[in-house]
Structure formats: C-alpha cells, structure tokens
C-alpha cells in the first residue's frame, strides 16, 4: 500500500516551517512510523512529492519498541509514540506528522522536553528517607515507575501550559509515589509541593490516562495519592510500608 505522509518540517535557526509531502510504500502490516522515518531519512536519494530531496529528518528515537518515550509526536493530531504506531492502522493512507505542540520545537519533529526534568526538580521528586521493601510486591509502585517521561500526557492536558504553576501528570507520577511511600515526617515537603503544583491544578479529566502510551493506571494513582495527601487517609498502600 502507498501512504501519503505530510510532515511539518522546521528549522529554528532559519525561522522556517512548512509541510512537506512524500510517499512511502509498504505491504508489511507491522511497519511503524518511526521505522519509516528512519528508512527515508537514512536514504540520501529519497525524494518528496515535488521531486526535492527529503534530506535528514529531525526526530528522536532510541528503543524502537515503545519503552523509552523518545519518539513521541503528533500523528494525525494525536500524541503518540511513533514506534508504536503502525502505518496499517491508518486505513485511508494519509498520515500527518507534527512535533508535540506544548514544547519548544528544536528541528522538524524534535522538541525540547527539558521542562519535564525541571518540573521534577521543582517539586523535589526524590526520597527524603531510605525505605525497605513492603510486605508484598507493590504493584502500584511498579506501575508508577514505568513512566516514560514522554510528554504525551502534557500534550493533551487541558490544564497544563508551560510556565504556569500546574506541572502536569508527568511530574505527578513520581510525586504520587513519594506521597504514598514516605513516612509522614519525610513526606512533609513533597506533600506541600504535591498540593501546590499538582493536586490543586488538576481538573481530573483523565485525558492523560487515555493517551498514556505506557498505559499507566493514572486515575488509580491519583486516587490513592489524593486520599493519603488531601484527606490524610492512610490507604492500604501506605500501611504496607509501616
């Protein structure tokens, strides 16, 4: 099948951005958008619809198997991991690729997501005290540790905007874990920032959960953390660590 790909190309230093269209043919039902980008970008002779050379396309990737979060982008308007998006899913054969919109664009599909690292520093998402293992495997902690820091949740969140006080789901995940696991004294600090930068800004619309490519149980995580934090309710969860 032949796919028409429209890709938003931009170069910050040259202050230009434009849509470029090219065609890509494959019959492999497992072919994904990231591998397609690798293939055309590595081919110095690949041409666009108008006969111009495509040249190297800017995009980030690493694992190629949905485990590292590098390749998040907008595919037909939806925030997704390109390596987890198969071309065959797009039955109409037209695919539009754009960089995530909530982050500054570096080049083509690359955006600068360092604000996510900054947010985690701002809420001081690190442990104040050492812990020991709970009585039984802590599946919720395992889930929360799987966050890819890909940024898809920030992209769809109605309440998140870079520079404003609410820091979004990506910062909430590690903080929620701390709220749940630290002892009351140690949790004091993270509790304060959890409330201020996270809980109070979140409209609980769950858009983040729907988009999360790692399928993190965000609703459940918020529910537990909020119960512990806001209503000082000791969840089953917290008890496991005492």
């Amino acid at each position: 099948m032949k796919y028409q790909i429209d890709i938003l190309r931009s170069d910050k230093t040259a202050h230009i951005s434009y849509f470029q269209t090219f065609f890509y043919e494959t019959d492999d039902p497992s072919e994904n958008i990231l591998h397609m980008l690798q293939t055309v970008s590595d081919d110095p002779a690949y041409k666009d619809r108008d006969g111009n050379l495509l040249g190297e396309i800017g995009f980030e990737c690493s694992c190629l198997q949905k485990r590292c979060g590098a390749c998040a982008m907008r595919i037909n308007g939806e925030a997704k991991l390109a390596c987890g998006a198969r071309l065959s899913y797009y039955k109409k054969g037209r695919i539009r690729l754009e960089p995530l919109k909530k982050f500054p664009v570096v080049r083509d599909l690359i955006v600068d997501r360092s604000v996510m690292q900054d947010s985690l520093k701002k809420v001081e998402a690190f442990r104040q005290q050492e812990i020991s293992l709970p009585k039984e495997t802590d599946f919720l902690a395992q889930e929360a540790s799987r966050c890819l820091q890909c940024g898809c949740c920030l992209e769809v969140c109605p309440n998140y905007l870079e520079g404003e006080s609410f820091l979004g789901a990506a910062a909430m995940v590690p903080s929620a874990r701390l709220v749940l696991e630290e002892s009351p004294e140690a949790a004091e600090k993270v509790s304060k920032s959890y409330r201020k930068f996270l809980y109070e800004g979140c409209g609980k619309s769950s858009a983040c959960q729907d988009v999360c490519p790692a399928h993190l149980p965000l609703d459940k995580l918020w529910a537990h953390a909020n119960a512990a934090e806001v209503w000082h309710r000791k969840g089953r969860h917290k008890k496991a660590y005492e």
């Binding site: 492999d28 497992s30 072919e31 994904n32 990231l34 591998h35 690798q38 590595d42 110095p44 980030e60 990737c61 690493s62 694992c63 190629l64 198997q65 485990r67 590292c68 979060g69 590098a70 390596c83 570096v106 080049r107 690359i110 600068d112 997501r113 360092s114 690292q117 985690l120 520093k121 001081e124 998402a125 690190f126 442990r127 104040q128 050492e130 812990i131 020991s132 293992l133 709970p134 009585k135 039984e136 495997t137 802590d138 902690a141 395992q142 540790s145 799987r146 966050c147 890819l148 820091q149 590690p174 874990r177 696991e181 600090k189």
Partner: protein, 601 residues
Amino acid sequence: MKVNIIGAGLAGLSCAITLSEYGIENRLISLLPSERAQSSLAEGGINGALDTMGENDTPQDHFQDTMKGGACLNDPEAVRVLTDRAPEILSWLIRIGVPFQARDRQPVLRKFGGQKKKRTAYAKSSTGKLIMSAMISECRRWECAGLTQRFSHHRFVRLLTEPITDRWGNSAVSRADLLKSVDSRNANIAVTGVRILDTYTGSMTDFEGPVVLCSGGMGGLFPGQTTGTTLNSGSVTATVFAQGVRLGNLEMIQYHPTTMKIPGKRCLVSEAARGEGGRLFIMRDGRPWYFMDEKYPEMGSLMPRDVVSREEYMVREREDTEGSVCLDMTGIPKKAFLEKLSDLRDEIMYYLNLDPMKDPIPVEPGIHYFMGGIDVDDHHRASLKDLYAAGECCCRYHGANRLGGNSMLGALLGGRIAAESIAAESSTAKTSTHAAGQRPGHAASQAEGRTGARRFGISVSISDEKPEKLVILDPLGKKEDPALAEQVGEILQKGLGIIRDQQGMTEAEEKIKALIQQDLKTGPAAGNYEIGVPADINLCRLQLADAIVLSALERRESRGAHTRSDFPEKSDEYKKMTIAEMKNGKVQVSFRPLREEAVKG
C-alpha cells in the same frame, strides 16, 4: 575539578551519584535523557547472593557460576569483587526505592541462565526500567544540590589529551616520540577533558577534568540486528580507540537465544521466560523435540546463553528438523504468568499476534551484549591517565560470556568503583555520605542544598574553572554515515556469526581493509591523516570493526561466545585476554595472560 561522565545509563548514574556522595562535582553528559538509555530496556533482573529463597546461596556460589558461565576467561579478582559486593548493591537499590517483587519484606529471587541457585531480583520483566526510575530520582537529589549537572542532548566528540610533562613542566617526550607513544606507551598521554556537541544547536564545547566513559555497548556496529537502542552507536569506543585507548576481548559478542525480528531491530524475549519454566523445542518427525532438556537434563533451556544459541543453530542446521526453534511457555502456571510476565506477554501479543500462554512462539538468536570493550584495571582506569570506563562499554567482569542479570550489576558496580577511585585520588573529596551511612537531608535550592550537604559533612567545592571554551569546527563532530554503517554491519554479521571460521573471518577482514583504504583516499581525513588525532568518525568505526575481526581471527579456539568450526575445542593456550591497540595507524592484536585464580576455599 569537575568530572565528566559520558552516558547516563546505569553506569553513568551510579558514577554521578557516588561522586556526589563524596562531594565531587560532576557533569552527566548523554545523547538523550536517562529514561531513553538502553539500561531502561533491561528486563529479567539483577543478580546478588541475597539468599532469600532458603537455598544457602553465597557470593562464592555466585562467583563460581560467573566464572563457569564466562568460560573462565574472566579476571577472577574482578569477579570476586563483583560477587562479594552484589548483596550491598542490591540492598542499596532496595533502600532507594526499587519496587522489586517482594514477599515478607524480602526480595523474591528467580533463576537465570547458568545459575545453580535462585539469585536474580526482579520486577516483572521491566527490572531495568524500575531500577533506572529509582536511580534517576536519586540522582535528582544531587542535581538539586548543584553537584550533578546534566547535559542531555549532547554527543561525545573526542577526548582532549596532552602529553604528560616532567616535573619541570617540559614535555616528557618530543612530538615525534609522542605520536609513537600513542601507539606503544600510551601511559605518556593524559586526558585533560572532553569535547561535546549540543545536538540541538550544533555548537561544541570543551570541558576540563577527568573523563568517565559510560557510553554502553557497540550495538551500532550491527545496525538493525541487535536488541539494544539506537543511541549506542559504538562511536565513542571507536573514537577513543583511534585516540590510543586499549580495548580487550572484542571478539566476545553475545547472541541471546530468544529474540524476535521487529521493524528496525531484534526484540528480546527475556530469559525470565525460561527462568519461569519456558522450554525450547524444534519440530522433528512431526513432533516437538525438546532438544535442550534432552542434552542438558540438569539445566535444560536455562544453560548459559552461548550454549543455548549454539544448540539452536545446530538443531536448525540438521536435516531431520523443520521450521524455526520455538519457545514453549504454555506450561507456566497462569498466576505466575500474570504476576511476573504480564508485560512480556503484552509485548509478544503485540509483535507476534500470539498468546504465549496458549501458543509456542518462534524465536531466533540475536546480538545482545558485548563482553569486550575498553580495557580497565581494578580501579576502572583505562589505559590513558585520568580516563575511566564503566558499564557495557568496558571489559571487566564477564569473560567469554555474560550471565543474565550480571550486567546491570557490573554497570552499577563499575560506575561506583570509578567514582571511588577518583575520590581516592582527589584532594577535595570528603568522606562519602554513602560510606558513612548518612544521606544529606532536604536540598531545596542550590544554596540550601549546599548547606544541607555541609551539615552532613560534605563540603561542596565550587571549582574556579576557566570558562567553557566554544569550539568552532571539529570534523569529528559529524555523525557516522548510515549507509556505510549498514554495509559494515552486514560484513561483520556474516563473518562473526554464532559459528565462525578462518575463511569467513578473513573475507570480512579483507572487505573492511578495502573500505579503510577507500576512506583514507576519499574520506575527510584523506591526505592529512595524523596518527592518534582522529578526524573522521567513519574511519574510526572501520578501524574498530577491523579490530573486532582481527581479535576473533587471533583466538584459535572455541570458548564462550566465540565458537570456531575450524578450532572446535577450548585450549589452555588461549586462556588469556585479547588486547587491541592502534599502533602506527594500524590495528594490532596481542594477548595478555590472566591473573592467577585467587579462589577462596
């Protein structure tokens, strides 16, 4: 003094955290943030004789399994330290919050290939990801305290070096001698810093200070054929090799017995699948033949990886078998499957459209790990002064074949030892908070962080560094040519398969030599090639490829991951390490004897 760490996977993070605990400032430089490092892909688990399963496991057992798994090519002193310190590393991981699978507050351990006892701590089959999350969070403490500074989206360009001068400040050797010395006695060269390139802006910066390479394995020499990430291009190892750094055991490349082909790479089916009871078979006379169980009744499909991959290759070559080798996980109890392997099951269902709880899945061996790499000593020092290496980029613990679960351990330990050696040599280092069993408390802002740190006995020395130097142009800043990389990958894969021979390897060597000649004529370094001062990343990579093939050719025996049809037996004569070095612009391979075994008891 600030220490420059290249790579932010497990080894890099471990080094940064330990340096910070000693109060030594460090820069954590990586192509992409830590979440994207190959360490995040590690699945099955990490080893340590914690003995929580009532099997009387000890570091000595761990030592013996590791030596045996490595076909006794490992340095016994190194393995001794690895296995003795493993319980300390695992306990530390638990304390910083890695949510391992647990029962009664103890980690549950599983069995991995080549192990006689259950020794592998795990978290489903996402162990690497969960360890990385906890390490990233631990590192953040030190970022907030101003001790660790991150440079994500930066690429390593080259080491900055200078000749070691005598005590009157004169160069110890003349320029002409120096060029020779890069090749012969590179102890005359000191690393003074590192040049990096900001991939977002294209600008280059020189940083002073010792350098710790934590840049991962050489998967990028085999594009599309490994289980790893695209970040580990092999270019760091290639560059430092051209700059005179010594490498070891390059021929030891691990093929993992269970992988599946997916677009752009091979996807690992974790050893945990076999650890929990998965068995390999192939169809023979219309019936499944469980060849591993038949040949190795004790360990079955859980033999070390080199053995399993080789057996898979051999049963497929037979005339009476048909189809591919399959992994049969249908015998694993449902509860264990859902609790311990649900993520692996999701992955298999997504890529193969098969449910491993119901159907056997086809698997193939694929390139997975590099036992060889930068040669380091007991202190993780490489062959140039003030250069260190840790993690998969270095050659230290795994001999001729790495056991599953030992590599994350080696990366964590290596990063820590490199930092400890730097601290021991540094005048500004304070007693580590870690060693003293203390941790700095709240570290809000940089300033507060510093007082906080001081309260716990660390004083942070803010170095009066010269301002960073911006570099205008360095030809090494260019990325490798993907078409050439692809071509070299095919040559290497063909010559260095699971079973090798003189003819195949000689052909590969000739092809690579021809590519080198061509590059010398037409590449960016054409005409003004200066030994020891690389100017062309493609040439560096070709020289590294050459070194791998030459190392394999020189080892005229079969041992661990290196199996030769023309020399099928293990030979005591070759119980030594292959050493590859650049001499007068050419790759040279020699051997170094192992240290005598210091086996306790």
